[in-house]
Amino acid sequence: MTGRAWLRRLWPLAPVLGALVITSGLLLLFGVSPFEGFGALLQGAFGTEAKVLSVAAFWVPLTLAAAGLVVAFTAGLWNIGVEGQIVMGAVASSWLALRFDAPRPILLVAEILVAMAAGALWAGVVAIFKTRGGVHEIFGGLALNNIAIIFTNYLISGPWQPPEGGTFRGTVPFPEKALFPLLGVSRLSPLSIALTLGALAAVYFILRGTYWGLKLDALGRNPKSAFLLGVSSEREMILAMMFCGALAGLGGSVRVLSWFDSLRQSISGGIGFLALLVVMLALFRVVLVPFVAFFFSAVLSGSISLQLRTQLHSSLGGILTSVMVLLVLLFGDYRQLGIFGSRGGKALADE
């Protein structure tokens, strides 16, 4: 491999390094040695078994949503609504968990399926607004995010409000049998790991080897040409959104059935938006998604310790990841640099 090829390979790491440098600078500015700071961060993410499990537990819904987003992005769709789809998945699972009784395996499967259906439906609405009503999916998605959150609040403070004496910001804890089986005292379930790996494999396979994946790819690159080549844009767009929504909904299900044990006011708390960042940092490639998501999860979890240790502002982890994504967006697509001499210079010609 030539030097240039290596450079191209390693290029995606540049923003990571850049972000490290910037945050180190920040730490220094506040009198914390970066070594100590990042040491605390590492400790916070991997210091004990419990912490590693917690990182992994947060990784699950993040990865699920991000894997779904790769499909939507491939079709050229900005599924900002993923946050609301996570919430709706959580709500749907909670509904079964609160109201239905069945043997555990049946109940769990039903909870998972109904969560995926709810997420898919929620995404489908956005897609239909887009194809039929001409409402851009970003606006439709944002609106539906709000509705999903309002809906949970309504449920928590209305029909699903716990009897007096309980906490006010969530439902009562679900019965044990409605919850995912957990590893020890962690919030991680082997079941959700299996589901996530399955989802990643499915997305990889769909995008690599199937007609549907290729159609989405064509659609994302050039909808007009794709239509003329025989791709039914409306149908595929709706399906792509629904697929993404189903995975997001599954993420929501994991959130209520293993991270929490009840429906809370902010069940997702921005995991959907984080997933968007993950996908961008992963250069929209599903093979990179699990690693980037793990990285995000570790940095965010680790920054809890960082905050406690340094008593600096707790957003440091958030800043680190956001800086990275911004750097990726700035330099990200190495082809745009023109230094490798292929297409894309045209985009720069306007600058």
Partner: protein, 401 residues
């Protein structure tokens, strides 16, 4: 893409980050230190519940040599979806914390788990009732878990009294959050204070006093889900109420009343829960009942350090002679600039009466809203009766459930 453009972007990016971090300070290592953790549900400068706790922690640091606080702010799934109480406690204990305050009812369940996990660390779950021997959850708490709560109903009675002194229409309104034991208890206590003062100082028949409670459905406004507190307050005033008491986390009651006062109407407000709440519109503010955690925190921390702490469910009374002294009282009342001297004098008399025990507002005969007897003639309510008040009281308008 020009270099200049890049530079601009970087600057844009770094500056807010710097500003964000500027709110924080560094740490100083000390030899003989006593480390305690404070877990907040909101930001430490929210001008409300969380800030009061943060200031309580600062009070301990100032008054106890060697004390060091570790704070964790905004532990809630909306702000930190990746964080759990358990994880935060793990870190605090690893950093040497011997005492951890968890300051929201949301943490109640997880605090139990943490207390079981770390038996050698003392946990204080604020506003919980797990450690109350006579409470409904009695026996749930491990021995290293205690509860602290200020006896806010007393201060609410003062608030109600102030309202009764100020009203001319004889119509008071209470802006409530959602319905549960705590909120019912507070609304009822304000009502009882108002009745007492309407009778005692105004010489009016307390049964003529109209007292309406409207529950918006949550601690703050959620468009589309809760009633809009702005609208509710407007309706209160439109239907003749001239004092609005707030029971919610946000400031709509005083803000709207202030606007109406600016239009020439005679209205007053009593906000809730943060010392500085009157600042929104001082001239119509009759006063504010507030939490002041410092003294209790300090007492708890000293006891833990000395090894003399024992499990307790603390429902702390006010230091009646020093309601505005933040070194003494766990709950307090601050006179608002809206009080006239005459009202102030009456209110002081009322407070003195409460302090000496001459005035007891939770005293029979009292009926519940459905007409059943709550307290017999001359009977004084016990702690449990007040804490677990099952309905609103007769004479209060508004739903109990």
């Amino acid at each position: 893409m020009s270099k200049r453009f890049l530079f601009r972007l970087m600057a844009l990016l770094i500056i807010p980050a710097l500003l964000l971090s500027a709110c924080a300070g560094g740490t100083v290592e000390e030899e003989q230190e006593f480390v305690f953790g404070v877990v907040l549900v909101g930001p430490k400068n929210d001008r409300g519940w969380s800030q009061a706790h943060y200031e309580g922690g600062q009070y301990v640091e100032e008054n106890m040599p060697g004390a060091r606080m570790i704070v964790f702010e905004s532990l809630n799934p909306a702000d930190k979806p990746e964080a759990t109480l358990e994880g935060v406690v793990d870190d605090m204990v690893a950093d040497g914390a011997q005492l951890v305050f968890t300051t929201s009812d949301e943490f109640e369940e997880d605090t139990l788990g943490a207390a079981e996990k770390y038996p050698e660390v003392t946990f204080i779950s604020i506003s919980g009732d797990d450690a109350w021997a006579e409470g409904q959850d009695a026996g749930k708490a491990p021995p290293n878990l205690g509860n602290i709560m200020g006896r806010m109903p007393d201060m609410k009675a003062v608030a109600g009294c102030a309202a009764a002194l100020a009203t001319e229409t004889g119509k008071l309104a209470y802006l409530g959050p959602l319905i549960n034991f705590e909120t019912r208890r507070l609304a009822a206590s304000a009502y009882l204070g108002a009745r007492y003062c309407y009778d005692e100082f105004r010489g009016m028949d307390p049964d003529d006093l109209e007292y309406t409670v409207t529950w918006i459905g949550f601690w703050f406004n959620i468009p589309g889900v809760t009633l809009d507190p702005t609208e509710v307050t407007t309706n209160f005033i439109d239907s003749g109420a001239d004092v609005v008491l707030s029971g919610i986390d946000t400031t709509e009651a005083i803000v709207v009343s202030g606007q109406r006062a600016d239009q020439g109407e005679r209205v007053f407000a009593v906000p809730y829960d943060f010392v500085g709440a009157c600042d929104e519109k001082p001239e119509i503010c009759l006063g504010v009942p507030y939490f002041n955690w410092g003294p209790d925190y300090l007492e708890t921390a000293s006891a833990v350090e000395a090894g003399s702490w024992e499990q307790e469910w603390e429902w702390n009374k006010a230091a009646w002679d020093a309601l505005d002294d933040r070194t003494k009282t766990p709950i307090g009342w601050i006179h608002g600039p809206g009080l006239t001297d005459e009202w102030k004098a009456d209110l002081e008399t009322f407070i003195d009466g409460m302090a000496s025990g001459d005035v007891v507002v939770w005293k029979g005969p009292l009926n519940l809203q459905d007409g059943t007897t709550y307290l017999e003639e001359g009977e004084v309510a016990t702690g449990q009766q007040i804490w677990y008040l099952p309905q609103l009281l007769e004479g209060m308008e508004g739903p109990s459930k």
